[in-house]
Symmetry: C2
């Protein structure tokens, strides 16, 4: 029973037991070169006997490295979009010996600010953020300290940093064009918080399509633009209001997965099977429900963000990059419903 009762097994203990110097033990444990195979085996066996584990704080400190953690800031992991993003980032970072530490802002600027401070205090090596903030000052502070920040899904407005976003305008325009081509003229736009760049870009793409179809289009389409539908509950309520109005839309474009969920709930509640629907973001049951969506790859986005982190870590002075990922329209029926006569 050579296992020590309480923690504190140090490299020195291992070295002593193996009858070598501290440095040799270090070399062996870290898999460095210039150690005879025999010596290495002796050290490793001693380490295993003692249940030794390198103290990562000491190791990082001696090496002059701050940490091996990358902070990932998202809205809420309950949203599969963020979960996939985090997953993609984590698996890519693992390949570079980096770990992910999580933080959820719940889309609150205040909470996000606290979170970023916390990450700074924990000396994270870099940060990947799907930021809900309008001013990115806390991130600027991180950057100045040499901590790379990569923005995902939403590019920063007042900061020069790597970012990776979706082709929001293109996706939204494709959705609108699809509905227009199907003969719809009264198309509602269900947007997220107005302050988010994704909201604006998607509305821009939507607007472009609607404007291009002008003449054919009821000029009143702008009355059907709604914002603030960040969660399903609000989206459902807004959908109800739209459909109860005097001149209701014949189609709805839900500009994110939570909004789509809300629309689906409201349509189901009232047994509405005629209103057409296209959603931004794909989801597990979209096929079962026959929901046409603007799809993209959140996991790839996370992985790509991780790659940007690694590259900037390697070369802090390279030019910042803005990567725009494509979307694609997946038709499944809900977007192909004909407008009510």
């Amino acid at each position: 029973m050579g296992i020590p009762a309480s923690g504190a097994t140090t490299l020195a203990d291992v070295a002593a037991r193996a009858g070598v110097s501290l440095k040799t033990a270090s070399r062996a444990v870290n898999g460095e070169q210039h150690v005879r195979e025999e010596t290495r085996a002796k050290v490793l066996s001693a380490a295993s006997d003692l249940g030794f584990q390198l103290n990562s704080s000491a190791s990082l400190l001696a090496r002059g490295i701050a940490s091996s953690f990358v902070g990932v800031v998202t809205g809420d992991l309950a949203n599969p979009f963020y979960a996939m993003l985090a997953q993609g980032a984590a698996s890519e970072l693992r390949a570079h010996q980096l770990s992910v530490t999580l933080g959820s802002s719940d889309e609150s600027s205040a909470q996000e600010e606290v979170l970023v401070d916390e990450l700074a205090r924990r000396s994270v090596r870099a940060v990947i953020a799907a930021s809900a903030m309008t001013s990115h000052a806390p991130y600027a502070a991180l950057q100045r300290r040499g901590v790379p920040v990569v923005f995902v899904d939403r590019a920063p407005t007042d900061l020069d940093a790597d970012s990776i976003v979706l082709d929001n305008a293109g996706g939204a325009r494709a959705a609108a064009e699809h509905l227009l081509a199907g003969g719809h003229r009264r198309i509602a736009f269900l947007g997220d918080f107005e302050r988010l760049p994704t909201y604006r870009e998607r509305l821009d793409g939507f607007t472009a399509a609607m404007d291009a179809a002008t003449g054919a289009v009821d000029a009143g389409w702008r009355e059907l633009v709604r914002e603030g539908a960040h969660d399903p509950e609000v989206a459902a309520r807004v959908t109800g209001e739209l459909l109860d109005a005097a001149n209701p839309p014949t189609a709805i474009f839900a500009s994110n997965n939570r909004a789509t969920l809300g629309v689906l709930r409201e349509l189901a509640r009232r047994g509405d099977t005629t209103t057409a629907l296209v959603g931004f973001d794909d989801f597990d049951l979209a096929e079962v429900l026959g929901v046409t969506v603007v799809a993209h790859d959140a996991r790839a986005m996370g992985a790509q963000a991780a790659r940007l982190v690694v590259e900037r870590l390697a070369d802090p002075r390279r030019d910042t990059e803005l990567v725009r990922l494509p979307t694609r329209l997946v038709t499944r029926g809900s977007g192909e419903r004909a407008p009510r006569a």
Copy 2:
């Protein structure tokens, strides 16, 4: 422009600039007592001028603390169950100055073992694991080193550790009883990997209900038990096979959310609206689709696991605890379909 070009601003720099000793600077920065307000302000202002940030490795090392990270091991964040679990754990741990670091095993024992090793190397303070392993030796090694391990969803079989699980048997029994009460006699059981304790417990609960109804029940129900339906694709295929058989089930109990998804896809594909369905695990669109489920609170489970971590950190010698969380049947239609004549 007092901002240093490259990293390395240390407490010593701050102390020098503030004209105080290293220790006083440390006290001020750490918000300790016994520092005059005036001195504290001076130090804090110097720190802010220099863009100083405490080096957490050095701080932890000096304090004799391994780290402030808790590793959370799950199958795959794409599964909302795990995402909620992680979220619940993270927010509870934050209240105790602990951060979460993520790892996905993809339900592979080998990958999970690598992951646990990695966590050990990163000197995590504790681990919360939804383990897919049958032998928990790697976790035992962690425990011996004084790193608490809390098991969630699946209790360890060969290890004494805190764990928090669902009332799997109770939930499954309730589901079976509900279908039996509805007149179903041929009820299929769609299980996850056989090696998982959740599989076994849910099958046990299911079996109890079926056996209790013996006499009324077709003795052949055991032929309708399937395992290995871990992902939607397999679940869909198995569902198809069951329904294509000579004497198909009139109802299906899908023993987890991925299985339910697969069943829904297959039922939708073949336009089957008569086969009854109850799923274990609630999901966003269950109400829209009218799916009856055995519901529970994954977020609470994560939070509870975090609480167990904190308690054991505070008192490593307390008796290990097994917490069992309740489930509840939520009826929405799919479980109330009458058996085919």
